[in-house]
Amino acid sequence: CPATLRAMKVIKSALSMKIPEGVTVESRSRVLRVKGKRGALSRSFRHLSLDIKVSPNGRTLTVEKWFGVHKELAAVRTVITHVRNMIKGVTYGFRYKMKSVYAHFPINMVISKAGDSIEIRNFLGEKNNRTVNMLRGVTVSQTGVKDEIQLDGNDIEAVSHSAALIQQCCCVKNKDIRKFLDGVYVSEKSTVLASDD
């Protein structure tokens, strides 16, 4: 009988997380605002049909899904994770370190004064200079170590996206990429302030 061929819906699926001291999380209409000592982050989850609520004392965040199917249930935990990353960003920040790797032609990375863009010269000896603008909230700077730069920011998506833009602007063309390994690659993912975890 084809009456019950649709997927079974789970009546309720909920997850909650503790909000640490010093961080405030506000949620209204599935837009979350996280404030901490490094600043504030905002993220919209309006594309999801979830109940997101913060407990009255502000210490617990709960995400609930009523009558969900497979993909909707998966979204419950991803929201918690996104908020976890936002909290980590506003308390410790995110620092991605990138190293330039070259066989023969030294990659010259020139960072703008404000730290909002980086110019990459002499990649594989090419005359073409590549400029990458950082996303809003991300600053790039020299580490002090040779051939290493670091990207700092509160929003993990912005920092990792900026790192990806740098890595992808230095791709080798028309060569065997197993042999020509030149490029700028993410070497370390950590935090700006020392994390206790």
Binding site: D51, K53, F67
Partner: protein, 118 residues
């Protein structure tokens, strides 16, 4: 930080939005499955019946009903909770009432209203 506390539960007072008995409030006596509930509104003229959740809008009122309570029990709990007065006092009910008055106005009533507003 909107409230997320209007649950479909036994005793929840619901407003019937369309179909027969539309515009009346009733209580949820039993939950049948994901989409249907058993409603009963002895004090508001709603016969005990199965109702689809799509027809119902939940209110913020909830009475303390045991599940599958029969009509006499619903009536007793409803009057004890004074739900008729509480419902009439909500801005929801007041808006419905003013809409009803406005549609039932005669031309003379509209004249009187225009005069009163001057």
């Amino acid at each position: 930080m909107g409230k997320l506390d209007k649950f479909v539960e036994v005793g929840r007072v619901a407003f019937i939005a369309n179909g027969k008995d539309s515009g009346k409030v009733c209580a949820i006596a039993e939950i049948i499955d994901q989409n249907r509930v058993l409603i009963d509104g002895p004090c508001s003229g709603v016969r005990r019946q199965v109702c689809d959740m799509k027809r119902l809008h939940l209110t913020r009122f909830c009475i303390d009903l045991p599940h599958s309570a029969r009509t006499a029990v619903v009536r007793r709990k409803w009057t004890a909770a004074k739900l008729d007065e509480k419902w009439k006092e909500t801005s929801w009910a007041k808006k419905l009432e003013s809409r009803r008055l406005r549609t039932n106005m005669s031309d003379f009533d509209r004249f009187k209203l225009a005069r009163a507003k001057q």
